[in-house]
Amino acid sequence: MLDGGNASSSCIVLDSVKKAYGNTPALDGLSIDIPQGEKFALIGPNGAGKSTTLKLLVGLLRPDSGTVSIMGYNPTSIQAKKLIGYLPEDASPYATLSVRENLEYIGALRGVDDAGERIDLLLGELSLSEYERSKVGKLSRGNRQKLAVALALIHRPKVILLDEPLNYLDIPTQERVVSMLEQLNATVLVSTHIMSIAERLTDGAIVISRGRKVWSGSMKELQAQARGTESIESVVVRLMTGAE
């Protein structure tokens, strides 16, 4: 892995990364290079290695071989951690803290200077103000997901890594989250297996299957792969399975 900043425009980089859980391979030589400011979707079937890719990028896993970097930094470094905002699938915030306490705690850990204002803004935008004193365990799944989104974005990250971010959210909240992500002007990688979400949140797609990249390009290029009235989902399935 790289140890220092990189002046090139590459932001999210995985180079020939292999990762296995015991004898079960998760990633098999995966290479990804997302330039700064771009928004990409990581698309693949269940078990393709999407979540593993994100966990490697946030430094919660170590690759067996290959290199991983965020703007040239090792993902386990403090520099990379300051840049990254991460939302895992089915994220669960601290159940022993209230909504506001969660935001204040993570705001403090991340050294957010204007934490109070930022928290008020996020609570308002995500319609969580009325729940700010509530125990997280009491929240509905949708409100818990809103809080998880707020926790991932509290420090205005430059690199945002999201795993199925719109799960459980109602349609108005989905729109607000999309708008918030656009305003942050960050490099975004969204892991999803739902094409409509990929199209709404990103401009490009990386399709992976069995731990390997099988296709990458812009959304327009992906749509252009369609034959006749073929849906984009069918195109992705064809790419994943290698069917002609």
């Binding site: 386990t76 403090a108 009491k138």
Partner: protein
């Protein structure tokens, strides 16, 4: 059908390894209790205190942390089947007994050899132990529906009543261990009838109880909000862990899967700690400066060590959120701050015992130096080792709130190893001062390595993530 239902409930709630362990240990205990006879107890009065202590520990533990061995899948599937309600209740009770009361049956092997008298007296004592096991089982079921305040009241009342025979009052359910078998037996039987009747009634409409309990627990805010505004990262971690102790109910030994979240102000916990510290001081002063004092110190050290390890350490990681904590700060910084805050949290709880040891030392009780070293240094350092063992061996117990305590396999049970190590360390500490110093050295060295090594913290987090912690 009943036997099949019982078998189903047992194998879905307990790992085969745990069932085998219980059966082997129970068999060993029964053989021990029947083969050996008439050991002398007069030379060591602390043996009786020890039995009273176990019973106090179990009753208070069951009331506070008990729960019905019930899974959500029981509500979704099992209870929708056309089963005989009576058979279902009997099966649930037996599963509950396996999860709770059976632990007290182990006492057979350690009590009967010391009972002087004929077969009839031994039979009465064996019967009393069986009745106490049923009492413990019923308490764990009843506590399921109680509010925190009701639990605190019941646990305090039973705990204090159980301790009274030590101070000369013989009408308690622990009196059988203090030489008053008749009164003790009558009281145990008198308690068993209403408690078990009420427990069985609760099992008959357990679904309603489960839903009511879940609804009640789901509808509140924290009474006293914490604030982390303007704090540095490390100060925020310390503020969080040194103001309140977070508890979840999943570590209820009955294995109730409804996760209960509660926060207790740390200084509130000083009240029971002061109470126990006072009893420790009283017993030590009462029994003098010789062997019995050492035994008292040993027992106190063991109990406190085990209790603090379970209470303060094993649930620590299950409260953590790796995707927030270990992503916001470098892993080693967060782990170091968390570990040190847990050491300080435990140290606060040990203050009354440390104070008692200092008083004993000032009064010329030389053995108190050994326990001071153990309780003042080794016990507060113990959570770090326990957290580490848990993170390496028992991840699915940390991650999956739908899993029961009894479903641990033998490898996961190894995560409880530090408790055994702590018990051995306490014995070594009491036996010799040099031993106590060596134990302190080992504890300090282990903690320094676990807390300050970046490799340890990184491997811990990578291992946790690989096993599904994030």
């Amino acid at each position: 059908m009943l036997s099949r239902l019982v078998k189903f409930l047992i194998i879905t709630r307990f790992s085969r390894g745990l069932v085998a362990f219980i059966l082997v240990f129970l068999g060993y205990s029964v053989i021990l209790g029947t083969v050996y006879n008439n050991f002398e107890t007069t030379s060591n009065p602390f043996f009786n205190y020890y039995l009273v202590g176990i019973l106090v520990f179990l009753t208070v533990f069951m009331v506070f942390l008990g729960g019905v061995a019930l899974m959500k899948s029981d509500l979704d599937y099992l209870f929708t089947l056309p089963l005989n309600r009576g058979e279902l209740v009997v099966s649930l009770y037996l599963a509950q007994f396996m999860a709770t009361g059976v632990s007290f049956l182990f006492a057979v092997g350690y009590v009967l050899p010391y009972v002087s008298g004929g077969l009839a007296v031994k039979a009465v004592m064996a019967g009393d132990i069986a009745l106490l096991a049923l009492l413990v089982t019923s308490l764990s079921i009843i506590s399921f529906r109680l509010s925190q305040k009701q639990k605190a009241f019941l646990a305090s009342a039973l705990g204090i009543w159980a301790l009274l025979p030590i101070f000369g009052f013989n009408y308690s359910y622990t009196s059988i261990f203090m030489g008053n078998t008749v009164a003790g037996t009558i009281i145990i039987a008198a308690l068993d009838v209403p408690f078990n009747f009420y427990a069985v009634r609760q099992l008959f409409d357990i679904e309603i109880g489960f839903l009511k309990t879940t609804a009640r627990r789901a509808g509140s805010e924290f009474r006293r909000p914490e604030s982390f505004s303007g704090l540095s990262p490390v100060r925020a971690i310390f503020a969080h862990h040194l103001s309140e102790l977070s508890l979840t109910g999943r570590f209820g030994i009955g294995g109730s899967v409804s996760v209960r979240i509660s926060r207790i102000r740390l200084y509130y916990l000083l009240i029971p700690a002061l109470f126990l510290g006072g009893i420790y001081l009283y017993l030590a002063l009462k029994e003098g400066n010789s062997g019995p004092l050492n035994v008292a110190m040993l027992l106190a050290s063991l109990y406190i060590g085990i209790f603090t390890s379970i209470l303060f350490a094993q649930e620590v990681l299950s409260h953590e959120r790796a995707w927030l904590a270990f992503v916001s700060l470098p892993v080693e910084v967060y782990w170091r701050s968390l570990a040190v805050s847990k050491i300080l949290q435990t140290y606060v709880m040990m203050v009354p015992f440390i104070g008692a040891d200092i008083v004993l030392l000032a009064l010329g009780f030389h053995g108190a130096l050994n326990t001071l070293l153990f309780m003042g240094i080794v016990v507060p350092l113990s959570p770090v080792v326990t957290i580490y063992f848990g993170s390496r061996l028992s991840v699915n117990q940390i991650v999956d709130t739908e899993i029961m305590s009894g479903q641990q396999n033998l490898r996961q049970m190894l995560s409880l190893g530090p408790i055994l190590i702590l018990a051995i360390m306490s014995i070594i500490s009491i036996v010799s001062l040099i031993g106590a110093v060596v134990v302190v050295f080992i504890a300090v060295a282990s903690d320094c390595y676990l807390v300050f090594s970046s490799t340890v913290s990184e491997n811990m987090v990578f291992g946790l993530t690989e096993k599904g912690f994030v």
